[in-house]
């Protein structure tokens, strides 16, 4: 198989050199995986800016409810008459913030960027299996982003039923303004997004299976590739189910079917729907929705594992256990969705089953956390910004993951379900952690992407302030959640019971504002270093993986000569018997040297 694959590449390569690249084929409709990775990253970053800005706006509303604010007046226009935020637009901001961050930033922005960049480079391939599909995948993502942003400008307002878009609220325009054209655009955007994600995932799977260079057996793959590969499989298994749910919802909305709707009386009239069930939608949604959490976090885990080993100058601890836990998490992730539905009205016995499977997933997660900590032990830690974000990742992953033990326990979930406790939990464990993974990846592979280095001092400032703010925002949220404060409330002033939470909410918002603003440091660093950063050397971090054997200047086909062969795993750091503290994968074993039986 390998020889065959290599032959095809040689052919591709020849082919590539004869083409003259124009501006359009190089920067816009590029089929080169490195360029597509950059396109994903920049689109994801822009979406991220919008998502974060929205969160700052609704945080200000929660802290100082119904107070006029110039920011609202400037950005929300008719939705903030006199600068006071409208209740409908509050829900819309919450909804679109969730959608953008989960799908557009942490799925496409994270997976799309690093799977595209690293899969061919780290397995030793000239490009993705299908460069054309890869290009189509990015442009579908771009199109869906545009449609999602367009939906913000709809007359009756953008989708506002929460990012989980539970019907009937999302199905009935008379229930909520945002459920009209806004929701239609949301659904179209997501349908296109899913198509994009599937094309991408199929490409990643095929590439990893078929196009590894000679010697790159599955047990020699870097953990990044394992993570991207398994993520793509979860995506292929679960995204189509969301597609089906979206399709059925479109049918209910536009063609009068009753998949999710039944017995509804609204605004003085009975609707014709009969026999459908909103609980069915919840099942379909969370069948994707929960694996989606792992689609977000697994690539971050892979990135962190790689960066941690490289910067600790030590092998990742327990490579086999790390791979096994990725597989275990992937398998379990598809059978735990019901823990979002303990109080949905489904059979309580089902709740027991989902409690069991959910708490099982804590085991592989715990193994991963301990293995990362042990990787640091007796290392020679290079505190680059990427390393700091990786350590930060482990910290927030533990803090956020532990409260999963409470939420996954059906008896305890009854009282904290849909409160701020949930918000604190999932933001720490998948939001902040995955964003840290993404930042770590950008700081680490920036020289590979742009041939220049990011300014490390700005990186340090970015990390430390972000780290403090992330805890400052989400740690206190556990307490207001345990005090019974429901999420998605436009203001808490309707309940005097919650008046004593007002000062906590102000503290949270102040941390959120600072944390949001400090991202400007990152953006500044990111965009100016492209042109003014220090020129990168070929292997700045002295890493073992194959991407650092390619030249700094990008060429089509990645390696100017033959593709390197692989003789060892990617974690031979500080191996006894070698002078350097790293041994790249393409260095043959010395005479008498044993390959580690990991």
């Amino acid at each position: 198989m390998s020889t065959h694959a290599v032959d095809t590449h040689a052919h591709d390569d020849d082919h590539g050199h004869h083409h003259k690249e124009t501006f359009v084929t190089k920067y816009i409709f590029s089929q080169d995986h490195k360029m597509i990775a950059k396109q994903y990253l920049i689109t994801g970053t822009l979406m991220g800016i919008i998502g974060v800005l929205m969160s700052i706006m609704f945080r200000i509303q929660i802290a100082w409810p119904e107070e006029p604010n110039v920011l609202f007046e400037a950005l929300l226009g008719k939705w903030a008459p006199g600068g006071v935020m409208d209740a409908d637009i509050y829900l819309a901001l919450v909804t679109i913030h969730g959608t953008i961050m989960v799908f557009f930033v942490l799925t496409a922005g994270l997976s799309g960027t690093f799977s595209n960049l690293l899969i061919p480079l780290q397995i030793g391939a000239r490009d993705m299996a299908s460069g054309f599909l890869n290009m189509v995948s990015y442009w579908l993502f771009f199109l869906s982003s545009i449609i999602m942003l367009m939906s913000l400008f709809v007359e009756a307002g953008p989708a506002a039923a929460g990012w989980t878009i539970y019907p009937p609220l999302s199905a009935l325009p008379m229930a909520q303004g945002g459920s009209g054209m806004g929701m239609t655009l949301w659904l179209i955007s997501m349908a296109i997004f899913i198509a994009s994600s599937l094309l991408g995932s199929l490409n990643y799977i095929v590439t990893v299976i078929n196009m590894r260079t000679k010697g790159m057996s599955m047990t020699r793959l870097p953990l990044t590739i394992w993570a991207f590969f398994v993520t793509a499989i979860i995506g292929v298994v679960s995204f189509p189910v969301l597609f089906a749910a979206a399709l059925l919802l479109i049918m209910d909305r536009s063609f009068g079917t009753s998949f999710f709707l039944s017995d509804i009386f609204i605004q003085g009239e009975v609707l014709h729907y009969q026999g459908g069930s909103p609980v069915l939608f919840e099942h379909l949604f969370w069948f994707l929705g929960h694996p989606e959490v792992y689609i977000v976090i697994l690539p971050a885990m892979g990135i962190v594992s790689e960066i941690m080993a490289s910067n600790s100058r030590k092998p990742i601890f327990g490579y086999r256990a790390m791979v096994a836990s990725i597989l275990a998490i992937a398998f379990l992730s598809t059978i735990v969705w019901g823990h979002h539905m303990f109080v949905s009205g489904m059979n309580p016995f089902l709740g027991s089953v989902f409690t069991f499977t959910t708490l099982l997933i804590a085991i592989p997660s715990a193994v991963k956390a301990f293995n990362w900590i042990t990787t640091l032990w007796k290392g020679n830690l290079q505190m680059n910004p990427a390393m700091l974000f990786s350590i930060g990742f482990v910290s927030t992953f533990i803090t956020g993951g532990l409260t999963g033990i409470i939420l996954g326990d059906s008896a305890l979930d009854i009282n904290v379900h849909d409160t701020y406790f949930v918000i604190a939990h999932f933001h720490l464990v998948m939001g902040i952690s995955a964003i840290y993974g993404m930042f770590a990846g950008v700081y680490h592979w920036y020289p590979k992407m742009f041939g220049r280095m990011l300014n490390k001092n700005l990186g340090y400032i970015h990390f430390w302030i972000t780290a403090i703010c992330a805890y400052g925002v989400f740690f206190p949220m556990h307490f207001i959640g345990m005090a019974g404060l429901p999420r998605r409330y436009y203001t808490n002033s309707a309940f005097p019971l919650f008046d004593d939470l007002a000062d906590v909410n102000i503290v949270i918002t102040i941390f959120a504002i600072i944390g949001g603003i400090v991202q400007i440091v990152y953006l500044y660093n990111f965009f100016t270093s492209m042109f003014m950063g220090k020129k990168a050397v070929q292997n700045p971090w002295r890493s073992n993986t194959l991407e650092w054997t390619t030249p700094v200047e990008h060429i089509h086909g990645n390696w100017p000569g033959a593709i390197p062969h692989v003789y060892r795993w990617s974690y031979d750091y500080s191996k006894p018997g070698h002078d350097d503290d790293f041994v790249p994968q393409n260095v043959p074993l010395k005479e008498g040297e044993e390959e580690l039986q990991h």
Partner: protein, 356 residues
């Protein structure tokens, strides 16, 4: 005011960042510039110490949160029978979580400090250890098994309503954006109902079947009255979108789903009056009233009405996003003695009477 505040914060941060860049830059003068974005020994040292600082920050935040906001959570004083079980399980889970959190965060940040890089140092080549990995697989397995078993027993006992205990049957009915309750009357059986039977002209807002004999003595009210010590079983309906019946003081929550009836049962253990007299509640109410008085001062100065003083009530909140006024969809719950309840229910009109 808010805008000014925001601008001041922005300026403050900008100055702080500028200062920090300066400090880092000054410290870099002697460093080898060819390393570009790569950490030097100096960086490793500074960030190693900052890691310890961050560990202290996490611990401090935890302590401050508990001292300052630890009294807010509803983790004690449950007002229902199963509530104290839930609270016990919560406290045990919390203890486990905090132990693990304190230990693992310590190891993570301490290692990051202790093993910070130095030129010429070589890391230990340590790739695998089956014993270690077995230990940290088995310990979570045991701890989680304990929590799962405890949790499942609690869950089953909460969700399986004991029909022999003859619970009072009450319907809770959600609509945008208010709640209605229906008592089943003398026969303790609710009359049939469907949204198709709603007749606004006759004030039959719940769509109760007028022909059903069980429906005649049903009582429709806007305030929920429960009897202390008497089990109640809620049958929950919604007429339009999803809502969620959330009664945090009773550790109770169940979605209201259009097209189906969902159920949740519990037994209240303390009356509203008794709850108001508990020392914790007196403190909480006083504290809230101080906050409200403070706010009222500002409001009256602007010529607006002052806030009413707060009096404690058990509450039913909507906890599933349901539209514009989701944030204000509530109903008071009054827990009282049997005599008080009997006196109250006698004054309500039955469904049959209301049709006349």
């Amino acid at each position: 005011m808010t805008a000014l505040f925001t601008i001041i914060i922005v300026l403050f941060i900008a100055v702080a960042i500028w200062q920090m860049v300066k400090i880092f830059d000054l410290a870099q003068v002697s460093a080898d510039t060819s390393t570009g974005g790569i950490a030097t020994d100096y960086d490793n040292k500074v960030n190693g110490y900052l890691m310890i600082g961050f560990l202290v920050f996490i611990y401090a935040l935890t302590i401050i949160s508990f001292v300052k906001w630890g009294h807010l959570p509803l983790m004690s004083n449950a007002a229902s029978e199963h509530g104290s079980e839930v609270d016990n399980l919560m406290i045990i889970s919390m203890a486990v979580i905090f132990t693990v959190q304190i230990i693992t965060q310590f190891l993570l940040h301490y290692f990051a400090f202790k093993y910070r890089g130095e030129k010429g140092k070589k890391a230990l080549f340590f790739a695998d250890n089956n014993t270690l990995e077995a230990i940290w697989t088995i310990i979570p397995v045991i701890v989680l098994a304990g929590l799962i078993i405890y949790g499942l027993f609690t869950w089953t006992s909460i969700m399986n309503v004991d029909e022999d205990a003859d619970p009072m049957i009450v319907e809770i009915y959600g609509q945008q954006f208010n709640w209605t309750a229906r008592y089943s009357g003398q026969d303790n059986v609710l009359g049939m109902a469907n949204v198709r039977l709603i007749d606004i002209d006759k004030a039959n807002v719940l769509g109760i079947d007028e022909a059903d004999p069980n429906a005649q003595d049903d009582i429709v009210v806007k305030e929920l009255h429960l009897v202390v010590g008497k089990p109640v079983l809620f049958q929950i309906r919604s007429q339009d979108v999803l809502h969620s019946v959330y009664m945090p003081h009773f550790r109770a929550q169940m979605n209201a789903v259009p097209g189906m009836i969902t159920k949740f049962g519990f037994t209240p253990t303390i009356t509203t009056k008794e709850m108001r007299e508990t020392p914790e509640m007196i403190d909480k109410v006083n504290n809230i009233n101080e906050i409200r008085a403070e706010k009222s001062k500002g409001l009256t100065a602007e010529g607006r009405d002052a806030l009413d003083p707060y009096e404690f009530h058990f509450l039913l909140l909507c906890n599933k996003i349901c539209g514009k006024s989701h944030y204000n969809m509530q109903m008071n719950i009054i827990v009282e003695t049997q005599e008080e309840y009997d006196a109250w229910i006698k004054e309500q009109t039955t469904f049959k009477e209301s049709l006349k």
